[in-house]
């Protein structure tokens, strides 16, 4: 959009318009079922105006990836990923590339932005090692691995390298760590790839990396660090790592690094945590962490640096768990709850409330009462965590999470992780997800700023459009206008925003508008999820269906429950039809149980009609019959950032 051209257009329109606009037209007139042709000529005398006049909000969300590994990530490279950041950006822009296993691959539609986030520990080691960098090969152990690889035993070398790294016996003198030339060169190359790919207005390549803290034998505390800045600033400091002497496993130290970076460069960075579901109870602590109590310092810093959480990706869903939300009929969705990241320690039920976003949003409000700041006041995004060197999230085009999972007739029955603790099968890996950002422009600054104000939502890989506004004055008619966004922004706050100072006698009302993916499945329903802390200080939650498809024939039963939308999926053919559900759902909902003295949050969840899961496309393509427990359908969904209500000012 170009504002200056808008103005020309509007002025031209006004010039031929002899009368002032009727006020009602600016609000948008609902005329869902007809019109009077006799009015047309009259309207033509008065009506020319641009609906876009003064519009300073985005027409559409930008869809992108905030979590992607390439060959420069130690683990990805060692296990066969050969594609680098340049391939990743090329692919994101819609180009066809050849995958690590030699298969041509292309996205159905380009992405609007991508952040390559390679692991900061030992970054670039494998690429340089496999290239025979002499500085590395002076080390006897490295030379041994290299010879092993050169003699055709690449996979064996990979296992030895990874094992030595996770056992802490990797030779430190050849490790790629901050301060070494190898590390510097790798970081510069990552930055250069982003600078080359960045095309403001068309495609944004943000600079980033993953800080991969793993506690114990593999409790996941990972964060992705994303820069608002260009290479001139990002290059001034090497990324934060987890290994001594330069790094730490403690997020508190990461936040210090972020503060130091901003102070030194004048730049701006944020961190997005992910996979609390594999943290074994450590992702969202409420009592202590690393032997230190959760205190005012922890909650302030966490709230400052971690404004987003990655709620869905290939390794399961992070919204909520059926044990935590027994009354949420959609809670049992792509759950990974067998153990920690490495499957070395099994999961126990008491860990769950410290692993999932919804319980964290609740616990955060309790901590806010105690310390004055809510550490878990985060917005939501989804991304893939692909280790392929390209993002893969489409059900009918899923290349897996690691190179071992690239399409192959056997993958549907193969194990992804197998340890004495348990097995996670490759079919359990999900084709998910995407980050949707309501940025006003497709630029680093605009996308980053939208992330910081949490005007974002997550999807499990589809590109549905979801708007969500909260305020005190939304009325049912606002759900029937031509410009819900204009109404939303003028009468309320968007997703990620705050409501305070409840007017006397009023309850918060919400305007939610969802459009299906233009080439995807219809929508089953829109829900608003409310979480609050009751008068006794206990966390509570409720799920409300606020709009649904096929409303003409489908209404809640006597128990208040909306009947299922049904399914058109033909698993054998991996097909479905859009003959159920609606392409667009809009509603205004007012909280019926509002208590102005209690803290609360509200977020929207939009659910698609059932569609074939990637496993169904796989089975059809390879002509396989998967085991009975393999899920073959999926109900894709979007989760918006919450809007918080805080009593008082």
């Amino acid at each position: 959009m170009r504002p200056s051209k808008f103005r020309t257009f509007v002025l031209a329109a006004i010039a031929v318009c002899p009368f002032a606009m009727p006020a009602s037209a600016q609000q948008g007139i609902a005329d869902p079922h007809g019109h009077d042709p006799a009015d047309l000529d009259r309207l033509n005398q008065v009506a020319p105006y641009s609906p876009n006049a003064g519009r300073n909000f985005p027409d559409r969300p930008l869809f992108g990836e905030t979590h992607l590994h390439t060959t420069l990530s130690f683990d990805a490279g060692t296990f066969g990923a050969r594609l680098g950041p340049r391939d990743a950006y090329r692919f994101a822009k819609g180009e066809e590339i050849v995958s690590n296993t030699g298969q041509p691959v292309r996205l159905a539609r380009p992405l609007d932005f991508t952040v390559v986030t390679d692991h900061s520990d030992n970054m670039g080691f494998f690429a340089e090692f496999s290239a025979g960098n002499p500085d590395i090969l002076v080390n006897a152990q490295a030379k041994g691995w290299y010879d092993l690889m050169q003699s055709g035993k690449g996979a064996e070398a990979a296992v030895q390298i990874i094992t030595s790294f996770s056992n802490g016996t990797f030779p430190t003198e050849i490790m790629s760590q901050p301060g070494t030339k190898l590390y510097r060169d790798t970081w510069k190359d990552i930055i250069a790839a982003a600078e080359e790919a960045n095309a403001p207005g068309r495609f944004t390549a943000l600079i980033g990396y993953e800080w991969t803290s793993q506690v114990g034998t593999g409790d996941n505390l990972h964060r992705n660090v994303i820069y608002r800045d260009g290479g001139d600033l990002a290059v001034q400091m090497d990324p934060m790592v987890t290994l001594p002497p330069h790094g730490s496993q403690d997020p508190v130290e990461l936040w210090k690094w972020m503060g130091a970076y901003e102070q030194k460069t004048g730049g701006d960075v944020l961190a997005i945590a992910h996979n609390g579901n594999l943290s074994n109870g450590l992702m969202f602590p409420t009592i202590e962490q690393f032997g230190k109590p959760i205190d005012a310092g922890y909650v302030t810093e966490r709230a400052k640096w971690e404004r987003l959480y990655e709620i869905t990706q290939t390794k399961g869903t992070g919204e909520t768990h059926p044990n935590l939300s027994p009354n949420d009929e959609f809670a049992d969705f792509e759950i990974w709850d067998k153990g920690n990241l490495t499957m070395t320690v099994a999961k126990t039920p008491e860990m769950l409330q410290h692993e999932y976003a919804r319980s964290a949003l609740l616990n955060g409000m309790i901590l806010e009462t105690r310390f004055g700041t809510n550490p878990y006041k985060f917005g939501l995004v989804g991304s893939t965590d692909s280790h392929l060197g390209f993002s893969s999230f489409e059900e009918d085009n899923f290349f897996g999470k690691t190179v071992s999972m690239e399409p192959d007739p056997e993958r549907i029955g193969a194990p992804f992780v197998r340890t004495p603790v348990g097995t996670i099968s490759e079919w359990e890996v999900g084709a998910s997800g995407l980050a949707a950002v309501w940025a006003t422009e497709n630029t680093r600054a605009s996308i980053f700023d939208a992330m910081e104000r949490k005007e974002t939502y997550a999807t499990t890989g589809t590109r549905m459009t979801v708007r969500f506004f909260g305020g005190w004055d939304f009325e049912p008619e606002d759900g029937n206008t031509r410009r819900p966004a204009q109404t939303g922004y003028s009468k309320g706050v968007p997703m990620g925003g705050d409501l305070t100072n409840a007017p006397e006698g009023k309850a918060p009302s919400f305007l939610v508008a969802a459009l299906k993916d233009p080439i995807g499945a219809n929508l089953d329903r829109v829900q608003i999820i409310k979480g609050w802390i009751d008068a006794e200080g206990n966390p509570r939650e409720s799920v409300h269906d606020v709009a649904w498809g096929d409303a003409g024939t489908r209404q809640p039963g006597a128990d208040g429950k909306l009947p299922p939308v049904g399914s058109t999926v033909n698993v054998a053919e991996a097909s479905y039809t859009n003959t159920i559900g609606d392409p667009e759902l809009i509603a205004v909902w007012t909280d019926p149980d509002f208590d102005p003295t209690l803290k609360a949050f509200y977020y929207a969840r939009v659910i698609e009609i059932p569609t074939p899961r990637w496993t169904a496309y796989d089975a059809r393509y390879f002509g396989r019959t998967p085991a009975d427990d393999v899920r073959m359908t999926i109900t894709e969904r979007a989760y918006t950032s919450p809007i918080w209500y805080t009593p008082g000012g």
């Binding site: 170009r2 309207l43 009506a47 496999s130 055709g152 056992n167 190179v403 056997e410 459009t465 059809r620």
Partner: protein, 296 residues
């Protein structure tokens, strides 16, 4: 560093050398998968001096001290045991039906043969020729200014199309884009756009809608055009078709594309050369197959 030929691979740009090395790799590969290790005959297991040394180094790395004699002997015994059982397993053909083994071997093979040789410094004439060949790739995307009115089958049912046609007739009579807001159905899709890129339009309305839109003549009401949301009447006020970008502006992109193409071709050539060594027979399935092999 990640892209482009790596140090030892850079030495191998000569095609002749390339194929000699490839031959050696294939030979090494085949002999490795056979029952005998290099330098050892059937029935003989050799644990070489360097191998023993490597075991000792690995031990020292892990335990921060050299292994004792007994510990080293233990490791050697383990290595021998592994060789014995490995060879017996091969002799029984246990590797044949094992997915994991097959997949590992394939990956190992690709690992050593990929990216062996390709040119990374084309001259300008080469790039220009490539640019001319792929003219459609280096374009400034089309831009569109339009308004639209949605007629939603969800709201109107089967009459959506007739309603749209009636509205179109009325609008054409009214001869202007203005009355649009009084017609059709409420939607959260924005109702008008100025100078919108084709890619952005596709992200909102889908590619088929945009293709149909680009075919319209500006300055009149037309349609209905279908999208995933319903039927749209559209007033296209302006369109700028995609234009070719000058070579100088896209030189780097052309170069990236060209190198990428070389790499793909080189890797495929390796496979083709190997494939020539085999006669491939695909037998038809005995029973009718359940839709295997379709694209996705």
């Amino acid at each position: 560093m990640a892209i482009g030929p790596s140090l030892p691979k850079r030495l191998l740009r000569e095609p002749l050398l390339h194929f000699l090395i490839l031959g050696a790799l294939i030979f090494g590969f085949l002999s490795e998968t056979g029952p005998a290790e290099t330098g050892a005959s059937d029935g003989q297991i050799v644990i070489s001096g360097p191998e023993v040394e490597r075991m000792a180094v690995a031990w020292a790395q892990r335990w921060q001290r050299p292994p004792s004699e007994a510990e080293l002997a233990g490791m050697i015994h383990e290595a021998v045991r592994e060789q014995v059982l490995y060879r017996e397993a091969l002799a029984l053909g246990l590797d044949r039906d094992d997915v994991v083994v097959r997949r590992h071997l394939r990956q190992k093979y690709e690992f050593v043969t990929q990216d062996l040789a390709y040119d990374t410094s084309p001259d300008d004439a080469t790039l220009r020729a490539y640019y001319d060949l792929r003219a459609d790739r280096y374009v400034q995307p089309a831009r569109l200014s339009f308004r639209h009115i949605l007629f939603s089958p969800t709201r109107r049912g089967p009459s959506a199309k007739a309603d749209a046609m009636q509205a179109l007739a009325d609008l054409q009579r009214a001869k202007g884009p203005q009355a649009a807001d009084m017609l059709g159905d409420a939607t959260s899709l924005p109702s008008g756009f100025e100078d919108l890129g084709a890619q952005e339009a596709e992200a909102m309305f889908g590619p088929e809608f945009v293709a149909a839109l680009l075919d319209l003549e500006p300055g009149r009401w037309a349609g209905p055009i279908a999208s995933g949301y319903g039927l749209h009447l559209v007033w296209l006020s302006d369109k700028t078709l995609g234009t070719r970008r000058p070579f100088a502006e896209v030189r780097q992109q052309v170069k990236d594309d060209w190198i990428y193409h070389q790499r793909t071709v080189a890797n495929e050539a390796v496979y083709r050369t190997l494939l020539e060594r085999y006669e491939v027979v695909v037998e038809p399935p005995e029973a009718p197959s359940a839709g295997a092999g379709g694209g996705s």
